[in-house]
């Protein structure tokens, strides 16, 4: 009686095993938004395969079988499986860097002009998650620069709020002189390090 029940299940499993219905992983490489094509290594117990060309794919069926020899997929083949995740994929966050006068929370004239672009980006992306990160150059001691970088971030955040961005959307952090854009010795005045980075997600 029991065997009669188990038998169909057993045949089912055999069928799945040989029909290729068993689980498998397909990996496809595409150019990034700048047109650059990277490199993926697909590896398991049975071996490794590199895919290095645009639209190239490999298929792996289980840890015990080697990834298949890479093959270029057509646009239609890619769309058939992946059109939905390609549409859903968010655009990468946008970054803006604003520069400051020396030892001051006053923006350079050039950077003041950036705000319309920043506000437009927040609007276009419908962003409710904005990071404002303050930095200084290495003139002065650590504590002084922590305060200065914090004040720089606050002043940028304040301008955004004045222009209608809800403050709850903004998180400000400050790195003082610890995270320079351009590496310098201590006590070096470097305009490119006196900055606030705005990241719009």
């Amino acid at each position: 009686m029991i065997i009669r029940h188990i038998q169909p299940l057993f045949y089912c499993l055999i069928f799945l095993f040989f029909s290729g219905c068993a689980q498998k992983t397909t990996v496809v490489l595409l150019p990034d938004p700048n047109g650059q094509v990277g490199h993926i290594t697909v590896a398991n117990k049975a071996g490794a395969v590199d895919i290095t060309h645009s639209s190239e794919a490999t298929v792996v069926a289980g840890q015990e079988s080697k990834p298949s020899t890479p093959e270029i997929l057509t646009e239609d083949q890619i769309a058939a499986k992946f059109s939905r995740v390609l549409t859903t994929l968010p655009t990468q966050p946008e970054h803006f860097v604003l520069y400051f006068q020396t030892n001051s929370t006053e923006l350079t004239a050039e950077s003041q002009k950036m705000f319309p672009l920043i506000l437009q980006s927040i609007k276009n992306r419908n962003s409710e998650n904005i990071s404002v990160i303050g930095h200084t150059d290495t003139v002065g001691d650590r504590d002084y620069n922590l305060v200065l970088s914090k004040n720089r971030a606050s002043s940028v955040s304040h301008i955004l709020v004045q222009n209608g961005v809800p403050s709850a959307y903004i998180s400000t952090t400050s790195h003082g002189k610890e995270n320079p854009l351009v590496k310098t010795g201590d006590n070096v005045s470097e305009p490119r390090n006196r900055r606030v980075e705005v990241v719009i997600r």
């Binding site: 498998k24 992983t25 595409l30 993926i40 859903t88 994929l89 990468q92």
Partner: protein
């Protein structure tokens, strides 16, 4: 009747506090878009995903039959999960100053698209996607994965 606004204020306050404490647990990503049923779960919680919800270490993201979700991570990595998909963030470290960089995600089933971010640029050997069939080492790029 006067008590109602008071209660509303209290609820708002409690919500604001819980939101705050959630943000304190080192969030490293956000939900950018959701459609259909999508769950974010860990040993601590299981919630329906909504836009701008934060993602923390150990979170699993799971989509239902007709669901999909778009995620953005701190290092600019972007991810989409199609219907019937599941992924878990095993490790995310993004502290370039301390050279602490890692992006490890486990992909269980479904369809995925990724554009890798700054971690892949700064330390490609620390970016890994684990699927049931293989491990993917990824050097700065856009990729698609289907497990089915």
């Amino acid at each position: 009747m006067k008590i109602l606004p008071g209660i509303a204020l209290l609820i708002a306050f409690v919500l604001a506090c819980s939101e705050h404490s959630l943000a304190q647990t080192e969030s490293f990503g956000i939900v950018k878009s959701v459609s259909g049923e999508v769950l974010i779960s860990s040993t601590q919680r299981s919630v329906r995903a909504a836009p701008n919800m934060k993602i923390v270490q150990g979170d699993s993201i799971k989509t239902g039959e007709g669901g999909d979700v778009g995620l953005i991570f701190e290092d600019d990595t972007v991810v989409a999960l199609g219907p019937n998909s599941e992924m878990k963030m095993e490790s995310f470290l993004f502290s370039p100053v301390d050279h602490e960089l890692s992006f490890v995600a486990r992909l269980f089933k479904g369809t995925f698209s990724f554009i890798t971010g700054q971690i892949a640029k700064l330390s490609p050997k620390n970016v890994k996607f684990e699927t049931p069939d293989a491990t993917l080492g990824v050097r700065g790029t856009k990729l698609l994965v289907e497990i089915h």
